[in-house]
Amino acid sequence: MKPTIRIQTEDFDLGAEYQLLRQLDAAVGAVVTFTGLVRDLEKESSINSLTLQHYPGMTESLLQDIVDQAAARWDLIGLTVIHRVGELLPSDQIVFVGVASQHRADAFEAAQFVMDYLKTKATFWKKVEQDGQQHWVESKDSDQAASQRWANDD
């Protein structure tokens, strides 16, 4: 299994990441990709920008741990996680998860698992600027529930 984990300020190219996964091995029969974007968090007014903070070193280790768990759980050929940090604007790409496997079920499930765990376990924090005011985004119970179901699955 080839893992790729990157935390970066610069944007990423969805097509290029897909091609890397596709070309990993002749056994690849399925590639699932997920891309998370900056969206308007509040319905009433749109956001001006979003800043992502992380804990250098620890965040990479936590992502590695999530990738290792996915590799132990599903039959995977490649798994790429890219997360951006710094200041982002509405519609910017934030996160990429791409999974290559022989069969689609492994790729679909592993991609969802990685995203659910990333959202509840990886040390990233979002701050939103809206109408000249800044505030930190609150964590969501629905994300905790999504993460929890993988723990109950065993």
Partner: protein, 82 residues
Amino acid sequence: MIKLLFFGRLGDFAEGVAPNIEARADLTPAKIRDQLAADHPALFAELSQPQVLISLNQMVVGWEQPVFDGAELAFLPPVTGG
């Protein structure tokens, strides 16, 4: 010395907190938090929220874990990445 880090919203409450504290015997994250109460009551209240996790040298630990000289102690509010 022990290095203190405050992430996310905790960083806003930690303005003016010294980035390092002196190491001494029997120190724990709970004692370090309590030490901050007098000068930084708002920060102390935030750190006392049950959702706040702590890491020691980048590993999540409990509040009673011994903290030794040279350690990096981080206070982590609930994460919101992705």
